[in-house]
């Protein structure tokens, strides 16, 4: 077959949705699509519960915005909402930069076996469930049996019950999240770092740049797109993903700073059977996430080099 014929055939195939080349790819994506449809689209009409009085015996009446009025007048809702944003702020201030810094530091290590060891050890906590991690930290920080307090007392200090201090909790929780996720999250940055052209470093050295200047002028610009895309992508789910760790860590002492929307939804919906209120808060949260997603999309067009949107 000559090249002209191949080109014609390729173009003809390109116009078809299904052809021999891509049918297998479509088949591969089918199971996740079905799952996505079952678990994300079929339940979607359930958001109607936000506008109903719907209890354990089912539909009672259409309530309009009554549920929204109720939750917006509930102090617990605003407390959970505020706490959620505190965790978001801590997340962008500390958790997002942590794997970047970690990747940069790992990148500077020249001893290969040491680098691999550090990388492996730092990645391991990611595979430990939050229940176990919470247990480890509760034991470590216990005022009566915890090693941290043994050390404090050994040096003459007073034991502190860390997990009873609402003001300390966001910091402790952020530390735990970094400890758990920094190694794993740094993998993508390490991959991006591997793609930085070595000639740029050589040129920087010739220009007299030291390590820090090389990092600032070569490395960081080299992975800028990756950083931006990951940050932008994270906007759409900033209010999610905290249920499990918060659920296992919170207690009555720190309720005021640990309760978040997800745990409040669980408490209202699953524990107390107020499904309509839980759905109302869930819808409110989803609306915020959707606005953030569009914002992220708009932002991605402006900050990425090729001006592509993420949607």
């Amino acid at each position: 077959m000559d090249s002209a014929a191949t080109t014609v055939s390729y173009k003809r195939n390109e116009k078809k949705i299904f052809n021999k080349t891509n049918v297998m790819l479509y088949l591969m994506i089918l199971p996740p699509l079905i799952l996505y449809y079952i678990f994300h689209y079929i339940p979607m009409p359930g958001i109607m519960l936000a506008f109903q009085r719907y209890t354990i015996s089912g539909f009672k009446y259409w309530s309009g915005f009554e549920n929204f009025t109720y939750i917006f007048n509930t102090p617990f809702f605003w407390r959970a909402f505020r706490n959620n944003w505190v965790f978001v702020a801590f997340s962008y201030a500390f958790i997002t930069p942590a794997p970047i810094l970690f990747a940069l530091m790992l990148n500077e290590i020249r001893v290969r076996w040491y680098k691999k060891t550090v990388q492996t050890i730092s990645t391991l906590p990611n595979f430990v469930t939050w229940v176990v991690i919470a247990g480890i930290f509760m034991q470590l920080l216990s005022p009566t049996r915890g090693y941290v307090n043994y050390i404090i007392e050994f040096f003459g200090g007073q034991s502190i019950y860390f997990l009873s201090k609402p003001a300390l909790f966001p910091w402790l929780f952020t530390f735990m999240r970094i400890w758990k996720g920094v190694g794993y999250s740094s993998i993508i940055y390490l991959a991006a770092l591997a793609g930085v052209d070595p000639q740029l470093y050589e040129a920087a050295v010739i220009d007299g740049a030291g390590r820090l200047r090389q990092t600032w002028h070569v490395t960081l610009p080299g992975i800028r797109n990756t950083i931006v895309v990951l940050i932008v992508l994270s906007f759409s789910h900033v209010l999610s993903g905290l249920f499990e760790p918060i659920f296992v860590l919170k207690n009555d002492f720190i309720e005021s700073s640990a309760e978040i929307l997800d745990t409040y939804i669980f408490n209202l919906g699953i524990t107390r059977g107020k499904y309509y209120l839980a759905t109302t808060i869930g819808l409110f949260k989803s609306t915020i996430s959707m606005v953030l997603l569009f914002f992220a999309n708009w932002l991605s067009k402006r900050v990425t080099e090729d001006g592509r949107s993420i949607l």
């Binding site: 449809y37 689209y41 079929i42 339940p43 979607m44 009409p45 359930g46 209890t55 354990i56 015996s57 089912g58 007048n73 509930t74 102090p75 617990f76 509760m138 216990s142 005022p143 009566t144 034991s159 019950y161 997990l163 009873s164 201090k165 609402p166 919170k250 207690n251 009555d252 002492f253 309720e255 005021s256 408490n267 209202l268 699953i270 524990t271 107390r272 059977g273 499904y275």
Partner: protein, 572 residues
Amino acid sequence: MKKTKVLCLILSLVFVFSVMLTACGGSETTPTPTPATSATPTPAVSATPTPEPEPEVLADPDRVHLVECQFYGDSMENLSYKESWPKIVEDHYGVKITMTNPARNNYMEVIQLSAMSGDLTGLVELFGGPYLMEWKAEDLIYPLSDFLADNEVWNTIIPESWKEVYTIDGDVWAVPTGDDGLPTWFTRSMRGDWLDKFGLSKPYTIDEFYEASYKFTYNDPDGNGIADTTGFTTSGTWNMQDIFQAFDARLNHIADPKPIWNPNTDIWEDSMIKPEMADALAFLKKCYSEEVLDPECFAGIGGSGMRERVSSGLYGGTFYWDGWVLSFENNVKKVVPDAYMVCVGALSGTITENLNHYGVGIGAPRVMMKTTEQPKEVINWVVTNFFGDDWGFWTGRLGPVGMVRGEADKACTIEGNTIVRNTYINEAGNIATYPGPGFIGGLPAKALYTVYEVAYYVPAPPAGQEDWAERTAATAIANTKRRKEWIDEYVANGMAYQLPENLKESTSPKYLEIGGDISTAGTTAIAAAVSGNLSIEDALAEYKAIAKSIGVKEILDFENEKLGKTTEQSYD
């Protein structure tokens, strides 16, 4: 642009299709007609009038479905027993038995979701009165009075007090699990051997209690030279109700800071806004800051954590079921053989009378779901056979004969108490207890004042332990006597009072709506004040503001109006 339009069209179609699927997914259970609550049971219709109509003979149901919590232990325990029991009952009575046993930890959450989906059917165990009221209000369950109107066992054997407890708006809505009719209450277990060591007697006042607890913490009661002991422990507010009671800042019967009925003033009140609450919190704050109170008291150690701590021998005590005074004693003896526990039934402080409450247990309520087929036949069959028939009663309570109870003729009577074996010495020579179904909790007419402890040797009694059965039975009886002495003492000195079941919790619709919020607000305020995270004034002010915004006063007004009184407390 064209692509966007196509995408929008597809998404719209998907959404519409989802709506259709959801709309079509409703339960199609055929509703069983609800009997009118005031209607009398339908008599057998006869064509010609007869002077003496034949009483209706109720047929056995085709199938009975039971939803039980802690049936032979938690959901994954004793699976073979769980499987065998329904078969044995089925073989005996010829009625098909099916069961569901959700895990204890999230039992109510699971059955609530199941009720919402319409899948929950049969006779369902609930955790308590408030759920019963809610499920009645939600029209999920049948009233049982009419169904059981002609049931002989119901009319003659079941105590009237049981029926009263679960009567709402003139109808009985649940059948209790039952109980022997012994008083049940929480008391403080304290290390008697530690009190002896410091020359202290059993405390009756909050000051005496503090003095003892302080010494338990700082005077090395276990004598090992290490500061490893703590005055007392608790899981949240649950195990220190007596301290709040001493200051007349009562929590409710399950230690929730919710509106309660005060026996001394016969009025419903919110302890959280009483000045006495500040005094109670100041006392607890002092205990907490001095580490006389377990520093992890509000850290969610739970019931198991609390029990484990007291049993470890390193904690001076806690406030828990009176039977646990003996259990703690046995557990601590494994670590410190000379240890013993004393029972502190109440602590006086600001007030000296009607401090701690007790009740006469009747067990958890069982309700009949409206999705149940043959509801009348099912409830009558259950009541008749499990309360009226000896085989059913003992099989429901302790398990089938031959399966876990040994042989029936080995049951005996000692000092007028029926003793049924459920403890035995196993092949390894250790004392073991048979797990029980707990489907029936007891009946005053068949009370086992000491249910426990008669030997069932496998394969034969060990040498030198031939009298073990008698000894353990005697110990069990002695322990029951101790429990009786405790309650008698505190009733006699006026410190304990019986809390009527209908005054345990509010029946106000508002209470059902905001009960959880009140509990959260109260517990958070107490934890913040005790730990010093907030000043006592700020913590209580925060609670007051929340209580005002969610309308707690409505509950007080509702209940006080029923008593013909006016709420005196104000949230302004």
